[in-house]
Symmetry: C3
Subunit: 211 residues, 3 copies
């Protein structure tokens, strides 16, 4: 289980770091800006989660592994050959950003629930879901605010909804399935909902769709 969770955290960290680095590159930041936004996106959600749960200093401050992985991911995307391809192919850029952001969202949503339960196994479903969603959307929200974009969570199709459904499924299944299975279902739900929504351009009513 330890290995499973560590592996998940690694995947989520790489995915969110990549999403932060991509957005920084799109904003014409220099190498340092790309690294900073990559790291902040990758560790931001977890730091928020730990502050909420009362875990101080947050885990990201105790173990440099995640920050180093995020730095490496950001530098990797900055390699001229790769950067050139990404910056001159808008469609490729969009698809990779969508996938990275969706993986990060899915992984960190269930990791939020895992951490909340690891710290105190006797949590209400509401708290688990709330912490899961916050951990999932937190890093991306900080990323978008720092980069001067409207946060994805406020403008993109079913961003918050995907995280909410995944968190709810994970928290409820936790009681009847082994925890690794509950986490897997939660993650996949987030990923599938997000990708389907993007593919089929699912839309919700807007304030200016006035009949």
């Amino acid at each position: 289980m330890e290995t499973y969770v560590s592996l998940l955290e690694l995947i989520g960290t790489v995915a969110f770091a990549a999403s932060g680095a991509l957005i920084a590159m799109k904003k014409h930041m220099d190498l340092l800006g790309v690294i900073v936004l990559g790291v902040v996106t990758a560790v931001g959600g977890g730091i928020l989660r730990d502050l909420i749960l009362g875990i101080t200093p947050p885990l990201a401050f105790r173990d440099p592994a995640d920050a180093l992985v995020a730095v490496a991911t950001s530098i990797l995307l900055f390699i001229p050959w790769l950067r050139h391809r990404l910056m001159h192919n808008q469609r490729l850029f969009d698809v990779i950003l969508l996938i990275m952001d969706s993986i990060g969202l899915g992984v960190f949503t269930v990791m939020g629930i895992w951490n909340a339960l690891a710290f105190d196994p006797d949590r209400s479903t509401f708290l688990l879901v709330f912490v899961g969603v916050l951990t999932g959307v937190g890093g991306g929200m900080i990323r978008d605010v720092l980069a001067g974009n409207m946060p994805f969570i406020l403008v993109k199709y079913v961003y918050a909804c995907a995280s909410l459904i995944g968190a709810l499924a994970c928290a409820l299944l936790w009681k009847i399935l082994p925890s690794y299975a509950a986490m897997l279902v939660g993650m996949l739900l987030v990923l599938i909902i997000r990708l389907l929504a993007a593919h089929y351009h699912w839309n919700l009513p807007r304030a200016d769709d006035v009949e």
Copy 2:
């Protein structure tokens, strides 16, 4: 007293959720964006307050009531009939936003003081006022940053001033009046100062008013 505080919290939550939902609608967000911004505005200030006071997990994470009220308020404002009226009448929109935001500011300013004292009755006046102002302006600040607006607190007439005067009055009167009266005076002061300032276009000197 319990009922009185619960009622206040309900009023403040509805008011701030409405202000968040209105701003999200103005920004052409979809239904989910409207709900997210409504909820974040309504619970954001209280979460900041609890983190500052060391109450973890914050109260909003333990009891779903406020979040649900905020969701309901946001959905209600999104009903086509109501939305149509609000989006096509700029003056009505502005007045309702001003009133909702002012009520929220007043209620949460004094609720911040109440919570700080409930948690530890032996607080300095400075801490009470600081926590009160932060709780009052926090939700709106997060709302404006997420929506890509300059925060009200930095641009609107006497926003911070109203909260500061209300908090100071509430904290000082707490020692000589029953607490419900101190809270009432604080709230009304915030509301009256804010509305008078808006009505009479009170202005403070600006950096470009150079003689």
Copy 3:
């Protein structure tokens, strides 16, 4: 040592308050907006640091001294004679903003390390550096987000790098030098790197510098 640290904190508070007030003036805010942004910039980094370290309520909430110094600094810069000079001389404005922001960055980076060690002397170098950088860049990051600017840390030459090198030097030297000397070296490194970078227009590669 107490006096030394208090003096540093005073210098850093004045410097960051000035940077916040200057940016607020540039954004045409009124006197209150200028004061609010000055105070938030001056105390924001320290509040973030205390939340991370689990010090609640944060020190800024217990002792009004820093907030009052920040208010006084902001008002001082708003004096018509001074404001007139600053707002009509872009070069002077830029130089003073750069110097104030650099002093604040240097002082708060090493103050972050000092606080982390004061609270628990047995910290890993990674945590010290992380907390130092966060304390150093936190106030400015909040300032820029509130003012609607892209944070310095993402766009300015070697902003994060200067803080990182200063924090690393300070944390490593702590073991072999008296602490006041370690802090002095850390601060000066931040200041020198930042000013040299600005003077010589050091640049790092950008995502659009594609060969």
